[in-house]
């Protein structure tokens, strides 16, 4: 889960990483007020989670409070990909002398944390790696020992820093590592980490991606963070409902078919085959291996609450999942929602096979629903229906 810049910066400040002065605005008035209080030229930054914000016009500068008001007014409510800008970060504009990159992430191949730094900050690390491969300093970290002071100093030296600059840079690196450990983050990144004209380092941007699987270790923190996510669009609300229900994956695309699958691999296969046959998928919902009757019922409810979904394909190939439990959930949903199904002309196709399939199928047949055994038959059927033939 990616944090907003303002959330990440709050954590940075707590760990002693210098950040620009500023505050959050959800209206042009508030933006103007912050700008007045700061009394200097400001940066106005859209708080969105999608990448490429700068290029898409999500970062602008203003010389006075009136200009701040005007820019904030234009920026709030604007869309970046599917995301609406609801908040702006108004900060003092930093006079940058040189831009560095510092980040810590997971090295999946070597199976350890990896510290990366560069003197060519300001662009994404992929571009740095491509254009200046020799200007990247790396350090694999042994979790038993942690990031040691000397390793941090060595990295600072490798990016060309000396004296007190080396020391303050390396202490920022240590903070990044501590944040990763203490918050179970899979990425903590500062880009750019600016060396200002008055010769100090400051984190102009901040990026933290949390390993949500570790949320059980940080429950208070997570509930605070969740509360700061403002849900405006219907799809955001549905996505959030799915998350709360314990549904591992809920994604909306564009079309009229909904997919509910009980595995990521079979789910992706279903998506591929439907699209390659000419069907258009609106929702991709994957239940994982820890299902229950309640879970599939909730999944059906959330997927079908999106009125673009008229054709629902439930593809079940149970290993861990029990088909008797799946049948129970499906029957319960349909019994409670007959009216809606009829009114909207919703078609539900079920493919059921795997663990306890005889029992599940028998329950559904008794209820008056036929199931498919073969995935292709089910997919061909749903694509035909969805294309009106």
């Amino acid at each position: 889960m990616r944090l907003y810049e303002f959330q990440a910066k709050r954590i940075f400040a707590k760990y002693g990483i210098p950040i620009p002065k500023g505050d959050i605005a959800d209206s042009p008035f508030k933006a103007k007020k912050i700008s007045e209080e700061l009394g200097v030229p400001v940066a106005i930054k859209a708080q969105v989670l999608a990448g490429g914000r700068g290029l898409a016009g999500g970062i602008k500068f203003a010389n006075n409070p009136e200009q701040t008001y005007q820019i904030a007014n234009e920026m709030l409510g604007k869309k970046f990909k599917r995301e609406i800008v609801k908040r702006l970060l108004i900060e003092e504009k930093i006079q940058i002398d040189k831009e560095y990159f510092a980040g810590i992430t997971i090295d999946y191949q070597n199976r350890c944390p990896l510290l990366i730094a560069s003197s060519k900050g300001g662009v994404d690390i992929e571009s740095i790696a491509k254009e200046h491969p020799t200007e990247i300093a790396k350090q694999n970290i042994d979790l038993d020992v942690g990031l040691t002071d000397f390793q941090a100093r060595r990295i600072a030296k490798k990016v060309g820093l000396r004296g007190k600059y080396m020391l303050s840079f390396s202490s920022i690196l240590k903070s990044l590592y501590n944040i990763m450990l203490n918050y179970d983050a899979s990425l903590v990144e500062v880009n750019p980490l600016a060396l200002t004209r008055d010769r100090s380092f400051i984190a102009v941007d901040a990026k933290i991606i949390l390993d949500e699987h570790a949320s059980f270790r940080h429950q208070d923190f997570y509930s605070k963070i969740y509360n700061e996510f403002i849900l405006k669009e219907d799809y955001e609300v549905r996505k959030n409902l799915a998350k709360k229900a314990g549904i591992p994956t809920y994604i909306e695309l564009e079309g009229n078919i909904g997919i509910i699958a009980d595995g990521a691999g079979s789910g992706m296969l279903t998506l591929d085959l439907i699209k390659e046959l000419g069907g258009e998928v609106e929702t991709y919902c994957e239940l994982g291996g820890r299902t229950s009757p309640q879970l599939i019922e909730k999944a059906m409810k959330i997927v079908l609450s999106n009125e673009n979904v008229t054709y629902l394909l439930i593809n079940l190939i149970g290993g861990l999942n029990r088909m008797d439990e799946m049948a129970e959930g499906i029957i319960s949903f349909i019994t409670k929602n007959r009216n809606i199904i009829q009114k909207r002309g919703i078609e539900i196709i079920i493919r059921m096979t795997g663990t306890l399939e005889e029992k599940g199928r028998e329950m559904l047949t008794k209820f008056g629903i036929n199931t498919f055994d073969d995935i292709y038959d089910a997919i061909e059927r749903i694509v035909k229906l969805s294309r009106g033939n």
């Binding site: 191949q109 179970d184 390993d211 570790a214 992706m268 390659e276 291996g289 190939i317």
Partner: protein, 287 residues
């Protein structure tokens, strides 16, 4: 033969009294797997389906020779349970839990490397050598004994493929699910090497998906292999930047795409298919 597990394999189930653990243990026992002991802290001394339960893995190992452990333990406790199995000297440790924190996985894999233990998973359906031994949750009605090795990153995708193979009368030597990632103990390369050396395996089906670089790594090794590989990659139509259900199935910054993986595998000489039902015909042609 087959790889990793066979008739002689002796298995310990961790979390044997839980809802999933007990249900799956019963299925494994019925299949003929030698489940010699179970572990549930606090329930030592009891029995389930005739299998003795212990509080600690080391007690279970001491009293019943065992070489493989499978855990049906919730994600927050999965790392501890795997570390316990590694500590007790088991050869292969299977982690089924989905959603194990990445830092925990790193710790487990480090320890396994130090102790020379193999780890399958996390988030794996386990493995099965049809007709011989099953350590996992594969619906075994889709499996018959034969000479095709199957390796996947997804339980459910492998079930689809097994169904196609078995319906076409094509049996399998061993079926291994590496797990949903984004970090794995055993990798494609590890399993491919074992299949390459296994005299019962004549061809291998590799099931991959978007995200990560494991298929690309596999492709490098496939160049050196003598046995034919049939590969299926899913997530071809997945949107960029979205996690598709496995922690690893995410295309980021244009890397880890299906296109790149298919190209790497094709260049290495693998036969590429788009759907499970194409696999039996190709296998019949090449064998």
């Amino acid at each position: 033969m087959c790889i990793l597990i066979d008739e002689k394999t002796r298995v310990i189930v961790q979390g044997i009294t839980g809802r999933v653990g007990s249900f799956q243990t019963k299925i494994m026992l019925d299949y003929g797997t030698k489940v010699v002991a179970g572990v549930t802290p606090g329930k030592g001394g009891q029995k389930i389906y005739g299998v003795p339960i212990y509080d600690l893995v080391e007690e279970a190992v001491e009293e019943n020779e065992a070489d493989v452990a499978i855990g049906f333990v919730p994600a927050p406790f999965a790392a501890d349970s795997a570390l316990e199995a590694i500590e007790a000297g088991l050869r292969l440790v299977v982690i089924t839990a989905e959603g194990v924190p990445i830092i925990d996985t790193i710790k487990v894999l480090r320890r396994a490397k130090q102790r020379g233990a193999l780890v399958l998973g996390p988030d794996t359906a386990g493995l099965i050598s049809p007709g011989r031994c099953k350590v996992g949750v594969h619906p075994h009605k889709f499996c018959i004994r034969g000479n095709i090795g199957v390796v996947s990153r997804s339980g459910s995708l492998s079930y689809e493929v097994l169904k196609s193979l078995t319906e076409a009368g094509i049996g399998q030597s061993t079926v291994v699910d590496l797990g949903g990632g984004p970090m794995w103990g055993l990798t494609y390369v590890d399993i491919l090497k074992m299949f390459e050396e296994d005299d019962q395996t004549e061809a291998i089906v590799l099931l991959g998906e978007i995200g990560g670089m494991m298929e690309e790594e596999a492709a490098k090794y496939i160049h050196e292999m003598s046995k034919p590989i049939v590969a299926l990659i899913v997530g071809r139509k997945a949107p960029e930047g979205e996690r598709m259900g496995h922690a690893s199935a995410l295309v980021q910054y244009g890397r880890g795409t299906a296109k790149e993986k298919i190209k790497a595998l094709e260049d290495a000489g693998a036969y590429i298919v788009k759907a499970p039902r194409e696999i039996p015909n190709i296998l019949k042609e090449i064998l």
